[in-house]
């Protein structure tokens, strides 16, 4: 691990209700630091603030207190150095695959030829070569998510933020996407922060699994996964770690 890419330093987030004074504390004093090129998974029960945390890192929400740093620079707004992938893809339905992937470079006014080269490279990286002219309505869920990942990669971000990206896919597609994501990570070595409900997915993918506690959200425990890739779901060490983390989360819910 070379240097700290992403530092989340004592971040709290309180949501105010629109009417009246009621407020919800989504995150309280959240601390985490992530290395350059590291793959980190966040797991925890629903409502523990995982999505809020990703939005804060993306710059779509502002922390009530504390700060977030990318390469030592504080995050104040959304920017192309952080790519975001949603569970429900959020593709532009009026743009074809190439049009979606090229969106980032386009708004950043990258010259046309370079834009298209980048799009082609990213589409190839996610395994969708030859589908550039297809529209989102013609694609399966797995293919849509590949487009969303390619779109996020097209800006060559420092950090890839993924909010339960495979949550809505069937088991078979999900497994394939996990393998392919690891393949992409191997090529691009982006820093990845990946939120998931599935402990198995987290242990399969991450170098470190961060368990969050809820009400309000904070880091509960961190598990390094000292298994080499590709990992086997039936490996004894894998199963033991999966069970330990599952028990850890269950203790939180009880």
């Amino acid at each position: 691990m070379s240097g700290r890419k992403l530092i989340i330093d004592g971040v709290s987030k309180t949501f105010m209700e629109k009417r009246g004074g009621a407020s919800t504390v989504a995150l309280r004093d959240f601390n985490l630091s992530i290395g350059d090129g590291e793959f980190v998974c966040l797991v925890g029960s629903s409502g523990c603030g995982k999505t809020t945390l990703l939005k804060l890192v993306a710059g779509l929400e502002h922390a009530s207190s504390g700060a977030i740093y990318i390469d030592g620079k504080p995050v104040i707004a959304p920017g192309p150095d952080r790519g975001l992938v949603f569970q429900d893809f959020a593709l532009f339905p009026w743009r074809d695959v190439t049009g979606n992937v090229v969106f980032g470079p386009e708004v950043l006014k990258v010259p046309l030829a370079e834009r298209l080269r980048t799009a082609e490279r990213c589409i190839e990286l996610v395994g969708l070569s030859g589908s550039g002219h297809k529209y989102p309505s013609e694609l399966s869920g797995g293919m849509k998510q590949r487009v969303a990942i390619a779109r996020a990669l097209a800006n060559d971000p420092e950090v890839l933020l993924m909010d339960e990206p495979f949550g809505s896919l069937d088991a078979q597609t999900r497994y394939l996407m996990q393998k392919d994501l690891l393949g992409i990570w191997n090529v691009d070595r982006k820093t990845i922060v990946f939120v998931t409900h599935s402990v198995e997915e987290a242990v399969y993918l991450a170098e470190r699994v961060v368990v969050m506690k809820s009400g309000p959200g904070a880091v509960k425990s961190i598990y390094p996964v000292n298994l080499s890739y590709p990992r086997r779901l039936t490996d004894n060490v894998f199963i033991a770690l999966r069970e330990r983390i599952t028990a850890d989360i269950a203790e939180e819910v009880a």
Binding site: G59, G79, L84, A90, W94, F103, E106, V107, R151, N155
Partner: protein
């Protein structure tokens, strides 16, 4: 058709209940008769149809430009909405027909008052549907655009407007229907040419078959405009199909 023919014949009141055959004869006569002033070459039927079409197209185009433009502004910026909504909500319930007297005072007879009324009728459905479309831009798409580095104007042009396109097209379709109705209303009262004027004229001469022939033409022309717009819509919204 046969029942119509039979019933009309039985009634034996040709000036009140024209038969299908007499309507076809009337269509032939109207096609052959000299057209309205300045359009003599086109014949009475086609001349008045062209005049009416031109009024609808002009009024509708004006309504489309102003309605979509203002709708984008109101639907996108909260402040613009708060400022303009009360004015619009007061003007909107006034039926376009209630504007006929004022339109004649302002614009006299003929082309201008008709265009004004068509604009008025088509404007509100176009405006409201555009506002609705802009407001319903999925927040996720705006967030994604932000994380990809888009600025506020780029988000408006590249996310808000295309996302509102289906709703805008629906507004245009409703608008052209209402515009067509306003045209006929305007020509019935404030005009001396056009299909609306033509059917009113043959009412006064008690030639019901020619009135019905004119009504038929209004139906056909309105239908053709609707089809044209639908074709355009399928072209613009091709990504929704599949």
């Amino acid at each position: 058709m046969l029942i119509w023919e039979g019933a009309a014949l039985l009634s034996n009141l040709p000036q009140l209940f024209p038969t299908p055959v007499s309507v076809i004869v009337a269509l032939g006569q109207l096609l052959a008769a000299p057209g309205p002033p300045g359009m003599a070459w086109a014949g009475e039927l086609m001349g008045n149809t062209l005049i009416s079409l031109w009024r609808v197209i002009a009024g509708f185009a004006l309504a489309a430009v102003t309605g979509v433009f203002l709708g984008i502004i109101i639907g996108w910026w909260r402040n613009a909405r708060d400022l303009l909504e009360p004015v619009i909500e007061i003007l909107r319930p006034i039926p376009p027909l209630a504007w006929i007297p004022l339109s004649m005072l302002w614009f006299g007879l003929g082309f201008k008052p008709a265009v004004f009324l068509i604009w008025l009728g088509a404007f509100f459905p176009i405006l409201l549907n555009t506002v609705l479309g802009m407001e319903n831009t999925p927040p996720k798409l705006i967030e994604v655009a932000k994380t990809l580095g888009a600025g506020p104007w780029q988000i408006l042009i590249k996310v808000g407007v295309p996302s509102a396109a289906p709703s805008i097209m629906a507004g245009l379709r409703i608008g052209i229907g209402i515009g067509w109705m306003c045209l006929v209303a305007a020509e019935l009262t404030g005009s001396n040419s056009g299909l609306g004027y033509m059917i009113m004229y043959y009412y006064s001469t008690m030639e019901a078959s020619k009135t019905v022939a004119g009504m038929l033409m209004i139906g056909i022309a309105g239908y053709l405009m609707f089809i044209g717009l639908k074709k355009l819509e399928d072209k613009i919204l091709f990504w929704k199909a599949a």
